[in-house]
């Protein structure tokens, strides 16, 4: 079978499972006794294992299997979760993640995970190192001791999955009998499959066969030796059944064992066959002892899980499909072509003046406007896709820094354009690190400051107008204005005089200056050679801003403002000579007209009065060397006042065409980066207009 067509599905689904495993593990860590969560984790791991095995990724399947063994003990209350187990399972998840990553990049998902596997096996054996001790890979020889205590006589039991097990448990609760039967067929039997069929047929008449080994399918196809065994639920007395089965000719022997809850557990959980056994020392390497009064205990996990599941939002059947992002781009391109044709049709219709045509074109106009909205919405993705990796990151970070903190995530359903989502991850990681590392104090300091031991970092996202805000707020020590200023003065970023007059907000912005770090001790987390300046330039390049507010001793808030989408923006179209340009509306403060005599020359640059100050006037025609226009010949000049941060400048243009929604296009990789141009767009008449990057005009 050609697996390639399933590969992308496998990758997507594995990532989903890994993500949910990560989330649930974190949830479990804060609530280690909730077996409902363990069940969810177990199921997810189980599915992942199955998928990996089907796709032939053996290493992946094997590691998941080991993790499953540990989880199985936990959900059966034979093992209590503890730090070492969490750490090992998390390590396992990391390894799984990197394997899937490898597969995504065309690899075979192979990885050396012996250390993790050994730790997992040690856990299964009950060999858990004392808290804090390194994950010593205990010698596998410790296994037999534990394994030998397994109560099942000859380990001939068949392993049951949780569904089958619960069916049997329920049947027993309803007063049925659960039997374990071993049937042997005579050696000289000619058609053993037929005999086996007769046995099954007989049994089915008086009850239900829950599971057989080999499976019924294999038995039908004659794929078994002389004997088979099965779990059977019936109302009939075993003493009555036995002679009925033996009366079928060529049956050598029937061995019926009545099961109670205790023996059922032991038998069904025992390793079924050789291949299982080689993978791990018995998954249930526990003595029956830890199972308290088996009968009432058995249904308990199920009962405990039920209300939990009801409470959690039930995973609704998926109503979505996955679409390759490239296809969406193609759709977008085709759509912009359609828009261009629409404009052309509208023109033609207005010339021809046939009512029927005009009506049709108008209708087409409405439909395409709706279509545009939908196409744009298709590209919106919840920020969740970025946020979901943070809980794990913050957990690890807090651990390595020996701090206690809670991460609160709000508004993860807020949607942003795919292009923004792809870019925003790294800056957010950085800001979060900053909050955890520099913001939240160590436990001792917090206690000394009269705060709660556990710090809080709040990550929230919300819409506001045409923007999305993402805020990272901590309740840590806040930013010390003096420290920042001293550092800035020392680095020559500001002078003492300027420093004294700076507002707090301006001081905090100094943190984003290149090469600025207030950390006195370079920790594991900071000091990686990347400063907040990178964060700022990234966010700026996305057309966003980052603001900082802080109160000493109370905490700090980073507020990142982002445009909803990068691919479609509102822009002012302007004309300079025969050329048209688009200026993003977000950087325009206002438009206006100035008279030539208002322009002043100062050291070769031009200034115009604006409100109560003067701002520089830039000539687009000269900067871009426009061949057929120069505003110096004009009596009056139209200007666009643009803003970069709090700096203003005016750009002289010939005239305004109007405000428009434009689709951003790249200029392609052949052209070198042109200063002042951030991209291109296609206008209604099919012409390309360049988009001006106002940031380049203000130094």
């Amino acid at each position: 079978m050609d697996m390639n067509q399933y590969l992308s599905m496998f990758i997507d689904e594995s990532n989903d499972h890994l993500q949910s495993l990560n989330e649930k593990m974190l949830e479990l860590e804060s609530n280690p006794t909730d077996l409902g969560i363990v069940q969810v984790i177990f199921r997810s791991a189980h599915t992942l294992k199955g998928m990996a095995a089907t796709m032939g990724f053996e290493d992946l399947a094997a590691l998941t299997h080991q993790m499953e063994n540990v989880l199985d003990l936990v959900r059966n209350e034979k093992l209590a979760m503890q730090e070492f187990i969490f750490d090992t399972l998390f390590k396992g998840l990391d390894a799984l993640e990197s394997m899937v990553q490898d597969i995504t990049q065309g690899g075979e998902g192979k990885a050396d995970v012996t250390a993790i596997v050994e730790s997992l096996q040690a856990i299964v054996r009950g060999d858990i190192p004392a808290a804090g001790a390194p994950a010593a890979a205990a010698a596998p020889t410790a296994a037999p001791a534990a394994a030998s205590t397994i109560a099942v006589k000859d380990s001939k039991g068949i392993q049951l999955d949780e569904f089958q097990q619960s069916v049997i448990e329920q049947s027993m609760a309803e007063g049925h009998q659960a039997l374990y039967m071993e049937v042997a067929i005579r050696e000289d039997c000619q058609l053993k499959a037929v005999r086996a069929y007769m046995v099954f047929d007989l049994l089915e008449r008086y009850g239900d066969v829950i599971k057989s080994e080999p499976s019924t399918q294999d038995i039908e196809q004659d794929k078994f030796e002389r004997s088979f065994s099965l779990y059977y639920v019936t109302q009939k007395d075993p003493a009555e059944l036995e002679p009925m089965v033996t009366s079928i000719s060529e049956i050598e022997s029937v061995n019926v064992t009545r099961l109670d809850a205790q023996s059922l557990k032991e038998m069904s959980a025992a390793p079924a066959a050789e291949p299982e056994a080689t993978e791990a020392p018995a998954p249930v390497a526990s003595t029956p002892a830890p199972v308290p009064a088996a009968a009432p205990a058995a249904p308990k996990p199920a009962a405990a899980a039920a209300p939990k599941a009801a409470k959690a939002p039930a995973p609704a059947p998926s109503r979505t499909i996955r679409v390759d992002i490239d296809r969406l781009d193609v759709l977008m391109n085709l759509f912009s072509e359609l828009l261009i044709d629409r404009v052309r049709l509208e023109q033609l219709a207005s010339e021809v003046k046939v009512p029927a045509l005009t009506d049709t074109v108008e209708h087409m106009g409405r439909v395409s406007t709706d279509l545009q909205n939908i196409v744009l919405k298709l590209r919106m993705v919840p920020v969740d896709t970025v946020f979901n990796r943070f809980p794990r990151m913050v957990r690890d970070l807090a651990k390595s820094l020996d701090k206690k903190l809670d991460l609160i995530i709000i508004g993860s359903e807020t949607e942003l354009d795919r292009t923004v989502i792809d870019e925003i991850g790294d800056p957010l990681v950085h800001l979060l690190r900053n909050s955890v590392d520099h913001g939240v104090e160590p436990v001792a300091d917090r206690i000394a400051a009269g705060k709660e031991e556990t710090g809080t970092v709040k990550l929230s996202a919300f819409h506001s107008g045409n923007h999305v805000f993402i805020e990272i707020e901590d309740d840590g020590r806040g930013i010390n204005r003096e420290n920042v200023l001293n550092k800035a003065i020392k680095n020559g970023i500001v002078s003492q005089d300027v420093a004294n007059t700076m507002k707090d907000e301006e001081v905090y912005q100094l943190l984003f200056a290149p090469g600025f770090s207030t950390a006195e001790v370079i920790s594991d987390v900071s000091g990686r050679g990347v400063g907040l300046d990178v964060v700022k330039s990234k966010i700026t390049s996305l057309g966003g801003h980052v603001m900082v507010t802080s109160e000493l001793g109370k905490g700090t808030k980073f507020s990142v403002q982002l445009p909803l989408t990068l691919s479609i923006i509102s822009a002012m179209l302007i004309r300079v000579g025969s050329e048209k340009y688009a200026i993003p509306l977000t950087s325009i403060v206002e438009t206006g007209i100035i008279k030539a005599k208002q322009v002043r020359d100062l050291h070769g640059s031009q200034l115009i009065p604006y409100r109560d100050t003067h701002i520089p006037l830039l000539s687009l025609s000269r900067v871009f060397e426009v061949p057929d226009f120069d505003e110096r010949e004009e009596e009056e000049t139209e200007i666009v006042v643009i803003r970069k941060g709090d700096k203003l400048a005016a750009i002289a243009v010939e005239n305004f065409i109007g405000q428009n929604e434009i689709v951003l296009k790249s200029l392609g990789s052949y052209l070198p980066e042109t200063r002042g141009i951030s991209g291109a767009t296609i206008l209604g008449d099919g012409q390309v207009a360049l988009i001006i990057d106002p940031n380049a005009f203000i130094k």
Partner: protein, 152 residues
Amino acid sequence: MDELKVIVFKLATEEYGIEVDKVQTIERMMPITRVPKTLGFVKGVINLRGVVIPVIDLRGRFNLPAQEYNDQTRIIIVEVEKMQVGFIVDSANDVVDIKRSSIEKPPEVVGGVKARYLDGVAKLDEERLLVMLNLPEVLDKTEVVQLESIED
């Protein structure tokens, strides 16, 4: 495969060839939007069915004398290493099959075009020579930058 399908186009007096699988489409002249502060032979960008593609004047690239565009002028859209670029050429109207064995190493100078832009010269018949373009070299930007600094 010793046969090679080649798009033939004209530039001044020479005929040039580009392997057909490098050519995406051949377009008539269309409005070009000038991009400021680029090299002289970069004419600007065009809208090719919703995709913005830079176009370069091949005469300019090869330092041949400029010529007014007319209704024979064509833009050949080529794709090299996922980079789409349009070449403005005098005319393009032929597709020929040539034998690989008929391609010879380029002579030092052909019609003023530097030998490094050429892959070889194919002899079509007694009268016709076809100059095979070395696209990666023609589109090499680092060389363009050097060219610039020399001109400065």
